[in-house]
Symmetry: C2
Subunit: 362 residues, 2 copies
Amino acid sequence: MAKKKILRIKDIAKAAGVSVGTVDRVLHKRGKVSDKALKKINAILTKNEYKPNLIARTLGSNKSYKIAALLPNPQQDPYWSIAYQGIIQAETEWSHYGLRVVSCVFDLLKKESFKETAERVLKQKPDGILIAPIFYNETLPYFKLFYKKGIPYVLFNTNITESNGLSFIGQDLYQSGRVAAELICLGQQGKATFGVLHVDEDLNDSVHLLEKERGFKDFIKENYKGDSSIESLNRTSSSDFSFKKRLAALLNKTDLKGVFVSSSKGTATAATFLKSHGKDGIRLVGYDLLEKNIEYLKSGAIDFLIHQKPQQQAFEGISSLANHLIFKKDPPSINLFPLEVITRQNMGSYLIERPHSISIPE
Amino acid sequence: MAKKKILRIKDIAKAAGVSVGTVDRVLHKRGKVSDKALKKINAILTKNEYKPNLIARTLGSNKSYKIAALLPNPQQDPYWSIAYQGIIQAETEWSHYGLRVVSCVFDLLKKESFKETAERVLKQKPDGILIAPIFYNETLPYFKLFYKKGIPYVLFNTNITESNGLSFIGQDLYQSGRVAAELICLGQQGKATFGVLHVDEDLNDSVHLLEKERGFKDFIKENYKGDSSIESLNRTSSSDFSFKKRLAALLNKTDLKGVFVSSSKGTATAATFLKSHGKDGIRLVGYDLLEKNIEYLKSGAIDFLIHQKPQQQAFEGISSLANHLIFKKDPPSINLFPLEVITRQNMGSYLIERPHSISIPE
DNA sequence: ATTTTTAGTGTGTGCGCACACATTTTTTAG
DNA sequence: CTAAAAAATGTGTGCGCACACACTAAAAAT
């Protein structure tokens, strides 16, 4: 029943026979402190494990931080619209602690637009950056710039391992593809063809989509019982005729047993195709709880969705930066979200609004 | 670009031409305030939506709260052991804000033990109670007592709708059963028998298990393509011979297509049975990421687990009470967790330690 | 008309910390 | 041996809020 007394700076000072100012200097490594005092204070510190009261800390220092969020235009794609909501939410919840978020959006399909927007971000001179690095080659030089300028940055959605950022928030995409394959194979057997669809994204730079495909293929090769072939189709735009033809051919295969779509928006598109071809019995696995996807899942056209939690990713991204700046508390360098499987029966439980507020460390 | 100024009590006071004391009285409904001042302040309040700075609030009031946690003995069952970890974690994370948690554990199988422990809880005179009300009839009178004494209490794991508690944290059990059924039916057809196993729990009071069974049966009746029958078995103790015989009979049925176990510990038990009967090809659906369950899921004996998140439930339970007491911020009266489906392929993503810290409201 | 009551209001302090500034002590220079 | 510079340490203030307390003015009682 030892009443666990919490150690304040004041207590340390008294114990060391110095003033709070000296302790403060030791804690923050500022100013000069005599060897004697330093040793005495450090001894007490290590022995008693001082933990600053973060609440008091933020209250006192009334600083204000600006974070720039660099992501695709939310109006172009419902997925990014949901991510954007997470940013807005994080901003409102952190606003009390002197945090502002400036969102800078670029055209999902134009690398040039990305570059311009990245420049705009730099002009803002933000204290931190949240970035969705969907263009691999274009992003790399900016990481270097951020680093040189000493601006902490957090990646979300897509990882670039050599980024050296403060943190990455997202999912294991390879494993995500494996989960999709597992769900497609479940209870199926015999000679089979599976389709992989990439819809409206530039595959050249979309490492993330290819990772999913790789996981998908690997799993099927390793686990599918029976002969299997996998056909990968890539739609470059909504008026891509060659895609339409190849898709029709794929859907006509009698041994087509499942289709995997690598993006959330594409999932609804694919469901529409399947339905219009009268093939909505084919097992379809895609991504995310977009409105349309929810409808198709309900109606049975979609069988499984893997939840990428774009909103939470963005929210945690902002929160990571906020904690770093305000509380000087660093996030883990990799924050991998679970690969949540959505079915007709558990969908409802995911649509409930859940309390969701900012986390402060310690 | 309107610089969103944050409204402090001081600002309100100035705007209303009164002192901070008067505003404080209005905000906390204490003391007397003239009609004129009241109206003026309220006008400003509703117009500008004042949000107190919770950080400052906690800093000032240096109170200390005691929460009692009333749950089954963690050593009896790994499920409750995980829940207990959530309590410990919540306690350490909240300890800085003057929160202590006293855990009071009872025998999972003895109603008398529950009563005794509940009495012990009351003697503690806690400021809040977290309770796992697994015994329906025995718990009800205590809810009344808590209420009469004005002690806020939060339920988790099992809901008792007429409880009138501050909040319930858990899952929709009926729907949980439906998810299990959905997973069992997936890709299966033809004449089938399904088994429902309840292991080592007193079914008379276990509303929660029966709810799961009801959901399971309903789904199959509504959705299974083909004749189906469902057999429900209930093991009362590990030496229940009648159960063993009936189980053996069930496992010998050639049309047995799936087994659903209603509890987490039971899931591993059932997997062992299936394996020893050479029937681990039968689809098995159970609950939670217990160590044994993880092993069986890996090896293929278990096909799906539904994740009840006992640790998070307990953690959020304590957090709800803490927010209520410290920040005077009430949780939603029902906090339903999603029904997360664990498979071989996504299991890994659930086993990663994720950052998880306390949330403060606003 | 003076005292007492009370409705209404204002002021002051502290929570733990950061940081600017004031003060003391020690060292170095002249 | 004093003056100036440098090093080390101490003091004070404010962050936004809660709450105890002090205070004023008007109403009620004597």
